[in-house]
Subunit: 702 residues, 2 copies
């Protein structure tokens, strides 16, 4: 059963039963019935309450078994302990969709988590899909379905909102109502025990009314599934997500709110990027971007014309657009001439096009028409500050007329409050997004443009990783896990990595001095010597590393190194030294892997060295990904851009070999789930065509 | 005459003449008279218009000379060409303050700039101070003075606003009116030909009504004066500034708006930091921070309690507070027990204190009282999302009652729109700042806390720089300027820098091979050899640098280096080589100086090397500054923090010597105005106690 079919009863059910309906105003069970009636739901509504005969004019039923056909959705608002029996009764009655509003599940600790598992087991037994528990239900303004107790009912519109916070949904709806912005669908996921954000994204992709999906996420429930759903959706319908819990403080708040324990913020950032999800940094940006994408086509390029009656706000807008990666070019000659013809000699026409304070509605309309038709621009931002001489509502109508004939987007920024009257709402009714401040407009326009780029080059499904190759070493690592080993150092790791083709510097483990000397005779020097000890993780901290040792010094250094380590770490067991050929010149980089609890193997690339590590010049991706993504990851860092383009005194590096090595780390991580962390630090990237050399490696097992 | 006295007529004039008053509704000269009357100005108002006898019930005068006493302020709104004569007439009539609203001056090009100079000359002749031209005048809600044609008149309050954009002032006033936020003073500076932001800051420091100064700045007119005024003011009255024109796009917009050509954004950031000015990144942040500081005391520390009826918004708030450098600690046991007693068993008490959706006004009040009295917190953020079960206005009153007895700040975040009714305005009437979104609240609280830190440790006046020392070399550099020289390379610069005590690596200019060899015999090697040529700025680009040359190779390298350069830059004149002792091991850093058009010498410190330069790990300060500031500058960069604290395998560097060198560069720049750019790149910072070595230097003259 494809998800869209199984979720249809949540969007457009034929009959709704409300288990826990109440005849007492102020109770949630009253609010839900009242909202279902007020929002204009056309199907039958069945209040279930053993002690009522009638609620708000509807016949009440003592038990779900007595409800006549049709009934497809159960809304449940009874205390948590009673819910398992109620859910079984729904199952027996043939109901296959339930929205559970009650709390008292995983968010309240172990007992609640057990109860949540119990209802999941019951749902599985009867084939029931669950929305919630611990949410406020669902709302479809197009069909009049409203199972929430949120006070306001939004107008029907294009924006879907999935929220792991019912209250944030309530706030959005209250705001949307005031601004005359319509919603297509709202779902409060609560603990998302069964139906997750991924399920709803899949379902909403097919929803005729939804042009934009917005989401408030505390934690994604199954990372790869979310990414797959988003990847399918974002080329057609933009997804904008706000992720909470990115800081320690936020994570603690989230844990006590919806029992969410999420992956790292870097993992979310990478997952969103790889699946085309636009990330909003603030609630305001979430809303602002939603209306930009719902009401207007996305800008096809980055060039924005600023049309204004106010110089200061326009300067602020120019800064903000530039800081968001957009451009504010001057008009071409044709455009300039057309503007001059439309506006006369007074306005400044550099962009901002500054028509001065008293700019009239016809002037706004004429200039907007010219700019929307101009080859110089991909979008228009019209700014207005109210004064005694202008007419904000008239300008709103004028912009709407100009926009009606255009295939490019126009956005408005109306700054002020009391003198704007209802002009903002009027712009929204005209489907022109309007913002309070230039900076908000700039962020929204930049996000809309980002979606256009995603649309042009949709995220590709990741290649099936070639994990077979790594099976030869998987069993050996598994044996180490079974023996309780956690840390795997160079000497143990190198033989395994060699088997699967990692480009290691030539090396040998020397347990007696002559072994080291023999290696030095048969390989070109100089050499790195590292103390061999299973007890020392950070060898350089205890003087356990000697670099650039000439062949003649290897024997002497064999003993010196061990003596030095013994002085500083006298309890560590020492087995000899690891001798390694020094790598040819190149750039130090780090490739790492950490297993994220939500998204799985997360690969890190960054510049190497103490200093650069401190600067956090790093990029992250969730594995698997293709070579193009690996190159994008490299290009995201300053270290990588220097490798790609070279710099004064530096030739470009072998980026192809580096990308290949990043892919190898990703494949290794996918093949061997027991590997919990892995790091090549550093690898040396040689000039283009000369490859990459790994000179240190370590792994953690779990 | 101290500035406060000369500016008093702009704040509280005894009599206002309006030159260009009009009896025709819709004209600006009508709007000004009408606003003066409507805003309740108590002194006499004299419309000046040769063709009117009466305007809005006031006797009109044909000429300013006919106006009876008292008259202290002239508001001028006649076309620009007529203004010089009008200003002379004002001077003869004994008026010493004029607000010129008309445009047509420096913002329109060269002819306008000449006219601006003309009115400045007239003003100087008669001792008149000017506000404007090209602004909208001044507004003092406390005295009822309103010389603007802005439609709304704000309530009297605590926030002063200085704006280089009249429209931004109009937008702020319109918004403040809607939110019931009061202003103490508004001045539209326009082109700020005479009275600048620095003058007004000085004057407003003494203004009884002003608790916060906010400013929209396109360019500061005299950098050092602005910094001095701000430095005196910010320990007592916070200044929050929004600076436009920080990007190329914004700078172009600003140039065509108020004829401002500003210094670099880095210079503004440094100047604001050094003088205690809080920088707002957005218009919204400017407003939000203003009400935080106007209504509540600043938080004494970073610990914020979140009180909420909504888990999602509280999680967003926790993230935002943490991202802004504040903390969200859990309550101590006493506080927890008091909360439990006040709220019963249901709420989560981890912080966020989550009272669930239906939280009542008494619950908000009781919890706010506990948190405001708690030793665990420095501030409280109360979040509310409206729903059918709560009472936003009642909660506003409850928070006000709790706040009345507290000496700590409380802030509110009310999310929504239609269901909030007038509750936001009510919070403002109670002097509780309220925000639309948690992120806005977090930024404002963080800024308020930042001001508390400034108050505790006010910016110190910079030391008188010891420039005398540098006079010995100033004349030599001046001679080079006179001879038309622009670029000064190492061989010319080193002898000068040596004279004034810069820590240079031992060096010699060798014009014949034997000189280089002699140097190598008398100094410990190895050596750096650099081609000596007045024509080559970037020696390493043409193979003109050889590093780590052993003494025995110096003679050979003398010729090889020159041959190599000749192959790659065959037109360059070659004079020999500069030989230099290689510096001992250490960390590469860069110290630079650029002369900012607004603020003067701007000193840069950052990590060295191609890679680190690309990462822009740099800090800026305006000279002069003291050693503590130099250390703060070092600590601001990652490179500097590694020097301060060391790192794996690195000892701490000689930060004292580094700070001293930074101060030397600052003093050199202050002493020699002809030096337009100067760079030590790199200097090597040795381990603590071992000093710093300069290994390359260059200068540009102007």
């Amino acid at each position: 059963m494809p998800p869209i079919d199984s979720l249809r009863p949540f969007f457009a059910p034929d009959g709704v039963a409300v288990i826990g309906a109440s005849a007492t105003p102020g109770k949630l069970g009253y609010g839900v019935i009242s909202n279902l009636i007020k929002s204009g739901y056309q199907g039958p509504i069945y209040p279930i309450n053993p002690r009522a005969h009638e609620i708000l004019g509807l016949s009440a039923y003592a038990d779900i078994s007595q409800v006549p056909d049709p009934v497809e959705l159960a809304v449940i608002i009874i205390p948590a302990p009673a819910i398992p029996d109620a859910l079984r009764a729904c199952g027996r009655r043939g109901i296959r969709a339930a929205a559970i509003l009650s709390g008292g599940f995983a968010e309240v600790g172990a007992a609640g988590a057990a109860r949540q598992q119990e209802i999941l087991d019951i749902a599985a037994e009867y084939g029931i899909r669950l929305v919630g528990p611990n949410g406020v239900g669902v709302l479809n303004p197009h069909s009049g379905l409203n199972t929430t107790f949120i006070e306001q009912i939004p107008e029907p519109g294009d924006i879907a909102f999935l929220s792991q916070s019912g209250a944030l949904g309530g706030a959005l709806i209250d705001w949307a109502k005031g601004e005359h912005i319509g919603l297509s669908y709202f779902a409060s996921l609560g603990n998302a025990a069964d139906v997750t954000e991924a399920d709803l994204i899949r379902a909403l992709t097919e929803d005729d009314h939804t042009r934009v999906i917005t989401a408030y996420i505390e934690s994604v429930h199954h990372g790869p599934e979310f990414m797959a759903a988003a990847r399918q959706t974002t080329p057609h319908t933009p997804i904008i997500a706000l992720k909470a819990g990115g800081t320690q403080e936020g994570a603690r708040a989230v844990a006590s709110h919806t029992a969410s324990i999420g992956g790292s913020d870097e993992a979310y950032a990478a997952a969103f990027k790889q699946s085309g999800v636009l990330r909003a940094r603030t609630v305001q940006e979430l809303f602002d971007t939603a209306i930009a994408l719902a009401y207007q086509p996305p800008p096809q390029g980055p060039r924005v014309a600023i049309l204004t009656n106010a110089g200061g706000p326009a300067a602020v807008a120019a800064d903000a657009l530039a800081r968001n990666g957009l451009s504010v070019p001057e008009p071409d000659e044709t455009t300039r001439a057309a503007l001059r013809a439309a506006l006369g000699p007074a306005p400044q026409l550099f962009n901002p096009i500054d028509m001065l304070g008293a700019a009239s509605s016809p002037e706004y309309e004429a200039a907007a028409r010219v700019l929307l038709a101009s080859d110089s621009y991909d979008a228009v931002l019209a700014i207005l500050v109210p004064n005694t001489a202008n007419d904000p509502a008239g300008v709103a109508d004028a912009l709407a007329r100009a926009s009606a004939d255009a295939d490019k987007p126009i956005y408005a920024c109306y700054m002020g409050d009391v003198s704007l009257g209802e002009s903002r709402q009027r712009l929204h009714q005209h489907r022109i997004p309007v913002y309070d401040f230039p900076e908000n407009a700039a962020r929204a326009i930049a996000n809309a443009h980002r979606w256009q780029i995603i649309r042009e080059k949709p995220p590709t499904p990741p290649p099936a990783p070639n994990t077979g190759l790594y099976q030869v070493i998987a069993s050996e690592l598994r044996e180490k896990v079974d023996s309780g080993q956690k840390y795997v150092g160079e000497a143990e790791l190198y033989p395994l990595l060699e088997q699967v083709g990692f480009p290691l510097a030539a090396w040998a483990a020397a347990y007696v001095k002559t072994e080291a000397e023999a290696f030095a005779r048969t390989h070109p020097g100089p050499f790195a010597l590292k103390a061999l000890s299973p007890d020392i993780v950070h060898k350089s901290d205890v003087g356990g590393v000697a670099l650039n040792v000439p062949a003649a010094q290897v024997g002497k250094m064999y003993w010196e190194l061990q003596a030095q380590v013994r002085r500083r770490a006298h309890k560590a067991g020492l087995q000899g030294v690891l001798i390694q050929q020094m790598a040819a010149a190149g750039t130090e980089v780090i490739i790492g892997m950490r297993r994220d609890p939500t998204f799985g193997p997360m690969i890190m690339f960054g510049g190497g060295g103490v200093y650069v590590e401190a600067l956090r010049d790093v990029a992250f991706r969730i594995a698997p990904f293709d070579a193009e993504e690996a190159r994008a990851m490299i290009a995201e860092t300053v270290a990588g851009r220097l490798l790609l383009h070279g710099a004064r005194g530096r030739r470009p590096g072998d980026v192809a070999a580096l990308a290949e090595l990043i892919m190898q780390v990703a494949a290794l991580a996918l093949a061997i789930p027991e590997l919990s962390e892995f790091e090549l630090n550093p690898a040396i990237v040689h000039p283009a065509g000369r490859g990459v050399t790994v000179v240190d490696a370590r792994a953690l097992l779990a």
